[in-house]
Amino acid sequence: MSGRALLSSCFLAVVLIAFAALPGPSHAQGFAGLGTDAEGFAIPEPGRGFTFPEDHGAHPDYRIEWWYVTATLTGEDGRAYGVQWTLFRSALAPERREGWDDPQIWFGHAGLTTPDRHFVGERFARGGVGQAGVQAEPFAAWIDEWRMEGPSLSEVTLTAQGPDFAYDLELVTGMPFVPQGQNGYSVKSASGQASYYYSQPFYEVTGTLALPDGPVRVSGNAWLDREWSSQPLAETQTGWDWFSLVFETGERLMGFRLRDTAGPDFTAATWITAEGTPTPYPNGAFRAEPLTITPVAGRDVPTRWQVSLPERDLDVTVEALNPNSWMETAFPYWEGPVSFTGTHRGRGYLEMTGYE
């Protein structure tokens, strides 16, 4: 899910222009072997692996990090719904301090998608004073009253609300966490930038959505992505298209395409068996081509895709549940639930950025 790294870089660009003097990609790459970048942030290195539950918590030495949940749900009314809950951490300096001096900044995004509506909430907070944060055990991630909280990250309550919507979900799984890329070291560009990245794509969900027409009981699947890194992406990389697909047969697929104005797109994917065993695929194996362009929020956004991974005989048409799943946040992007048909069937989530 290197797309998320880009997303966060863009947030950095918008929210923290302080980084005008960011080291360029080649510069950053040059420092990669030393373990920190020019401003003292740690740089991901291959072969680190994960230690749980510690790694569920925050890594303040790294510039950016997130706890990203997407859920494909079905209501008792039979309708399809989608829910997004994201907590971003963005550090101004690679350290923690007491009170308002803490350079750790947090922001949260919440989305709730129905076939004809899309609700958005956004929150900002400073670390150090308790308004937002993450603790590994017992697990708790919060910003304001939004919470992802449980005895452990395998059993959490997920809540968020905006001015006109709210949700309250229970997420439970017995499955292991799934490392992405090379045992969690996820390369995200041809020039070598990378992040630490693991997922929990197997949550079973029950809960309630509060909508303008009243509450709806829902159930379905949820997918958690955990990722942290310090490196921004190349200037020529204008945006990305990221897919998380859950097949009716129980397998999962994560795949993304980074659009590059200076050369071919960069793609990567991970095939996850129903038992949670991942197989990463290198650049070029995964393909995604737009089929239908929809005008959304004054931009042209592809909302129907042809997605294929020939090495797994996958060739599906992916279609948005609601083409207007536009996240009107400080840095706006498209994120919403999808369904797909073709060689495989199922539901999933799509995230797209950089469509001007």
């Binding site: 300096a93 308002w100 001015p163």
Partner: protein, 799 residues
């Protein structure tokens, strides 16, 4: 035909350029004074709005009536879903005056706080953490350059005397770690949140942040200015009225000829309306330019006054606002319409071949004296009613306005009666003719004389108020500033060292410590005072219980300032609820120049109730002649910068300077109003002079020389001005009383004793005579030098 008529009508102005100048200048002056005052007010209000918007504007806020808010309460509210953003406010001292420091959290600040947007679009990393950053406007930034403060970034559009910092930085600078002044309630609240009482029972929701108070406080000041502007405008209209009346009178033959040639009355009226409208627009534009100049010249003083008196954030720069232009043009047009309505109405009803009766209208208006007197009586009643039944500032101004108008309307009747009396006492035909002729001229002069009366009365009234205030204020300063030296330590450690150092060198070290808390539902300062003879002997008490200082020393009583006593209707012996428990009101004291409530308690009670109070400021009692030495010793020992140490004389000089600046504007407007009134007399006399030739010619033919006639004319103007001046004195005194006893109490919360300054009246009377004499001199000179042929022609001419 229309073209020819227009050319005939406009030809008049080519022949009478001075008259044209009078008309344009009169209108321009009226517009200038009005729009100048409006510009000053608009600028000041825009500054308040900017300051108010900068700290959350009209968003409701959560406050703790007992003081500031714990940061933990903020986090608890956020974690319960309440979308609130913290604000910490305080003052940072700089060698060049105080600056209001506003701490914000740029991440949660509502969009109304523009500075937060500036930060997010700029250097967030530099803004947060250590050392942090201050953001201020250019003028304020220059004041904040100091080694002790974080670096300053200059930003556009930040209100004057205001600096922003991150809330963490502000907490550190103000020594208020973990504290918050108030929480701004954002507009975008989530779907559900628990009630406030459940999360933060101590907090209350309020309509908006503190700046509304500023607008309310300064309202009276602006209302004062507006009233002055309106008065000047009204007086200016007398000039315009005179000029238009003259022009119409002189063009009667032209109008008649045009009508006789077939120009419909309707079209003639329309042509004249168009002519006047064109003049109004030209004069309006001139007046606005002039008004801008007046405003630019006066604004620095007004700004200094507002800063000094109210701490209102206004700098001396003026911005041109489109609304102000439009308003100026509109007022010029409206003024012209008002001044010319009578003349136009007469013109529209003019019979085609009206007989030449140039003075008939003047004689006819003798009949209007009755209705005028009735109107005057009605206005006097209204004034009385507003004074006795009304409440508030507006009633005070209604009372003032009605009083002035009533006096002005009564003036012609009074003068007429006086002249009738004089005529009866007159001996000899020349005297009899003089009195009768003066009385006959009265209707033509009465408008100008009314203007003079208004200007003189306003001068006397405002002058008496300012002088009374100055006298009271200086005496009060002497009492109040009893300590010889006032020092402010940089921190608690230095304060302690200072007290130890000063103990052998001074007679007493009196703490001046205070906290800002809510008292009786409004912000107030609570001061602690030591039990010392300085206070017992000097403090300017208005009312007091017998053992007032003992009550205070025992921690049982509190002193309150006059403002608080009046607002809450508190008298000695009443109970006053204070944070930490109620005390007995032991007395009240006058507290001029302070807009807000103040409470005095003993210093031990203060430190017991508010242990966190900043203990940095002291008044020092020093043996006579030692002031310089002690100040030099302080500088030598502690390296105190000059801004932290002031001797009594310097503070007095500064206070008086603020006071004088406050009334510079008033003084300037006073002089201008008087000048305008003099000008009104001139135009009226010019009008009359042209019309009166048929009356003067027979007198000349009977043997009075032109020089004698001219002297009589001059004498008459001086006499009328002198009588008007005498009549203006009682009106001015009543005005002063209303200002001191009604308007000041309503506007500022203090009542001032009235002092009378007859010497000033003599001076003003001389000025009035000079103005009237100058105004009459020119028409008189013209008469003295008039060719006899012109006088003879009266007998052959139809006029």
């Amino acid at each position: 035909m229309t073209g020819a008529a227009l050319s005939a009508i406009l030809g008049h102005w080519r022949r009478h350029p001075f008259q044209l100048a009078t008309l344009v200048l009169g209108l321009a002056l009226a517009t200038a004074l009005w729009s100048g005052v409006q510009a000053i007010n608009a600028e000041a209000r825009a500054s308040y709005d900017a300051a108010s918007a900068a700290v959350g504007g009209t968003r409701p806020v959560l406050v703790d009536p007992a003081g500031d808010i714990d940061q933990a309460t903020y986090v608890a509210l956020r974690r319960a879903g309440w979308q609130v953003s913290p604000i910490l406010e305080g003052w940072v001292r700089t060698p060049r005056g105080r600056v209001r420091l506003v701490g914000i959290d740029p991440l949660t600040a509502p969009p109304e706080i523009a500075a937060a947007g500036t930060v997010l679009a700029g250097d967030l990393t530099g803004f947060l953490g250590q050392p942090g950053m201050l953001i201020a406007g250019e003028a304020t930034a220059a004041r904040l350059e100091s080694a002790d403060l974080p670096p300053v970034t200059v930003a556009e559009g930040i209100a004057p005397s205001l600096a922003f910092a991150d809330i963490g930085v502000a907490q550190r600078l103000l020594g208020l770690e973990g504290r918050i002044t108030r929480l701004i309630l954002r507009e975008d609240q989530p779907l559900t949140r628990p009630p406030l009482a459940e999360i933060a029972p101590g907090l209350e929701e309020r309509a908006s942040g503190g700046q509304a108070d500023l607008a309310r406080l300064t309202d009276s000041f602006h209302l004062n200015l507006t009233a002055f502007g309106l008065l000047s405008f009204a007086v200016g209209l007398f000039i315009v009225n005179g000029a238009i009346g003259l022009a119409f009178e002189q063009r009667r033959p032209t109008f008649r000829t045009l009508r006789a040639l077939g120009l419909p009355a309707r079209r003639l009226t329309l042509l004249l309306v168009a002519e006047l409208a064109a003049f109004a627009l030209i004069s309006g534009a001139l007046g606005i330019a002039l008004g801008y100049a007046i405003a630019a010249a006066l604004l620095p003083d007004v700004a200094a006054t507002l800063r000094g008196l109210y701490g209102a954030p206004v700098e001396g720069g003026l911005t041109i606002r489109p609304a102000w232009w439009a308003a100026g043009m509109a007022i010029a047009l409206a003024g012209t319409a008002a001044a010319s309505a009578g003349a136009l109405w007469k013109l529209a009803r003019l019979p085609v071949l009206a007989p030449a009766r140039p003075r008939a209208w003047a004689r006819a208006s003798q009949a209007t004296l009755g209705p005028q007197l009735a109107a005057s009586a009605a206005l006097a009643l209204l004034s009385l009613a507003a004074g006795t039944l009304g409440a508030g500032l507006l009633a005070g101004f209604v009372m003032l306005g009605a009083l002035l108008l009533s006096a002005a309307l009564a003036l012609p009747a009074l003068l007429s009666a006086l002249l009738a009396l004089a005529a009866r006492l007159a001996a000899g035909p020349r005297a009899e003719w003089f009195w009768a002729d003066t009385r006959q001229q009265l209707p033509g002069l009465s408008l100008a004389l009314m203007a003079l009366l208004l200007a003189l009365a306003a001068n006397i009234g405002v002058g008496t108020m300012v002088s009374s205030f100055r006298l009271t204020f200086t005496g009060w300063l002497d009492q109040r500033l009893a300590s010889e030296i006032y020092v402010t330590a940089e921190d608690a450690a230095q304060a302690e060292a200072m007290v130890a150092f000063l103990a052998p060198r001074t007679n007493a070290i009196l703490p001046i410590w205070s906290v800002e808390r809510e008292v009786a539902g409004a912000p107030a300062e609570i001061f602690g005072v030591a039990d010392h003879a300085t206070y017992r002997d000097h403090w300017p008490l208005l009312t007091a219980l017998p053992e007032v200082w003992d009550l205070l020393a025992r921690g049982e009583g509190a002193l309150i300032n006059e403002q608080l006593a009046r607002r809450e209707g508190l008298a000695p012996g009443d109970r006053l609820d204070l944070p930490g428990g109620a005390l007995i009101v032991a007395g009240s004291y006058s507290d001029y120049g302070n807009p807000s409530a103040q409470v005095l308690i003993s210093v031990s009670t203060l430190t017991a109730r508010f242990p966190e109070v900043e203990r940095l400021q002291f008044g020092l009692r020093v043996p006579p002649g030692q002031t310089e030495a002690v100040m030099a010793a302080l500088t030598g020992e502690f390296g105190l910068d000059p801004g932290r140490m002031m001797d009594q004389q310097a503070i007095k000089a500064f206070s008086l300077q603020v006071f004088e600046r406050t009334f510079t504007v008033t003084g300037a407007l006073n002089v201008m109003t008087l000048a305008v009134a003099g000008f009104a007399i001139l135009t009226s006399l010019l009008t009359l002079a042209a019309m009166r030739l048929p009356q003067l010619a027979p007198v000349w033919a009977l043997g009075l020389t032109r020089a004698q006639l001219a002297r009589l004319e001059l004498l008459r103007a001086l006499g009328l001005a002198a009588v008007t001046m005498v009549l203006a004195i009682p009106v001015g005194l009543v005005l002063a009383w209303v200002l001191l006893a009604v308007i000041n109490v309503e506007a500022f919360g203090w009542r001032l004793p009235m002092h009378v300054f007859p010497a000033d009246w003599l001076w003003l009377g001389a000025l009035a005579l000079l103005a009237a004499g100058l105004a009459a001199l020119w028409p008189a000179l013209r008469l003295a030098r008039m060719a006899p042929a012109d006088l003879v022609r009266v007998f052959s001419n139809e006029r």
